[in-house]
Amino acid sequence: MNWRTWGITKSPWLYHVNTGSCNNCDIEIVDCLAPKFDVERFGIKLVGSPRHADVLTVTGPVTRKSKPRFERILEASSKPFIVAAVGTCACSKGIFHDAYNCIGPVRKIVNETSDDLMVINIPGCPPRPEAIIEGLETGLAQLKEVNRPRTKVRGL
């Protein structure tokens, strides 16, 4: 584990992406940031811009309309970062398995965009806040060494 990986495991900042979920998992993510669970103990913080994010928490089976937006967010985020698919829909499309308008799951879309991104699956409908925190912590503990990212001049 080099110092870049260590930094990310010590202060993961979340950015919340909704790719067509029913809002249940979104509410559960917001619950997870409430004072009761106190995620600031782990340095977790919600940020408003993908440029600041270390973890993209993605909810929902990726719909046809949201796919280009999701890809733009993946492009705009500053590396190294990881993707956390929160909820059954994001992990495996869930009840939308055979739906014509859902082209997920998240892991598939992420792998199409780039192959070195780590995806954590946190199943549940919705997953409990404890499960989200545990998933993030175990996922971050397995983060591989990251190389020196290059300055992206004139990014998206």
Binding site: W6, P35, G43, R51, S78, K152
Partner: protein, 310 residues
């Protein structure tokens, strides 16, 4: 001589000391906020983790940005605050100062806000531009009461523009001094962009405002600037209004005053909702500035009549 100069800039009143104290102050802010909300709060080194992580991340320069100002502007904040910190601490501890240093410090304290405004303007993002204009409006509102407060302090020292002069007799031992201290406390709250005056960085409306496009090391520079501001701005209050600090037991007493100012700021932060831009302007111009003007008149009257307590 040169070695001493380098030591002053890099180690004792300079970069290393200011950063360490700023990190401690930032931890105190987050821990006390956590305790107010009945939580445990972050570990002691959390601000260090944040900055170290940001230095290890990718640095993105957006397509629509003005490249050079986008890269160079984040350095302005830490540079200005470093100089202000050296001047303030030197005026307190060895008691070194020059005529007009209070004006220099006031100008240096404007630099972090300017770096935010210019950074937001050069990122080429709509939300960051909105954040910059809000920041400009906030500056317009808090600068006037702050300057009136400092003018009162200067009147109380019979017109000597020196920081060492302010530390001789604490300003809050007079009636006008108490009013002016409270005014300056609110102005410092706005200068730190803490709730209730955090419209420029309102995370729920404009996603971090001027910082929205910044990532990696450049964002870390802004964070460092905020860490240093957490030391420098309360220290400015302590020096000008509360009599500063000296060596020995005086250092402990000075540290206590600093912590009291910091905790007052944190408690205001945690017990108030956010004000709109126009509400903040109204508050500062029609609520706070008249109080400062009143105490300025009181101070002039006190000088005229020879009453030190007025």
């Amino acid at each position: 001589m040169a070695g001493r100069l380098v030591f002053n800039f890099v180690v004792f009143p300079g970069l290393l000391f200011t950063l360490t104290m700023g990190i401690l102050a930032s931890w105190v802010v987050r821990k006390v906020s956590a305790l107010v909300q009945w939580r445990v709060g972050p570990p002691l080194l959390q601000p260090v983790y944040d900055v170290v992580k940001l230095f290890g991340k990718e640095n993105i320069i957006p397509k629509e940005s003005m490249e050079w100002s986008y890269i160079l502007v984040p350095l302005m904040g830490p540079a200005g605050l470093l100089l202000a910190s050296i001047i303030l601490i030197k005026a307190n501890y060895p008691g070194v100062s020059f005529i007009g240093d209070i004006i220099v410090v006031l100008y240096l304290l404007v630099l972090p806000a300017f770096s935010l405004i210019l950074g937001g303007m050069s990122s080429g993002n709509v939300l960051s531009t909105i954040g910059s204009t809000r920041e400009l409006r906030l500056m317009l509102s808090y600068e006037m009461p702050l300057l009136l407060a400092v003018t009162t302090a200067i009147v109380k020292t019979n017109g000597v523009f020196k920081l060492t002069e302010f530390t001789l007799r604490p300003l809050v031992t007079s009636i006008s001094g108490v009013f002016v201290f409270l005014v300056a406390l609110l102005c410092i709250q706005a200068e730190l962009k803490f709730i209730p005056f955090d419209t420029p960085e309102a995370e729920t409306e404009i996603m971090g405002g001027p910082l929205i496009e910044y990532s990696g090391p450049l964002l870390a520079l802004f964070k460092i600037s905020h860490l240093m501001a957490l030391l420098v701005l309360p220290l400015f209050l302590v020096t000008v209004f509360l009599g500063g600090f000296s060596t020995g037991w005086g250092a402990l007493w000075g540290a206590l005053k600093y912590v009291l100012v910091l905790v007052a700021i944190i408690l205001i932060k945690n017990t108030n909702p956010r004000l709109r831009s126009d509400q903040a302007l109204h508050f500062f111009w029609y609520g706070v500035a008249p109080i400062a003007l009143f105490s300025l008149i009181l101070a002039i009257l006190g000088n005229y009549l020879g009453l030190a307590w007025l």
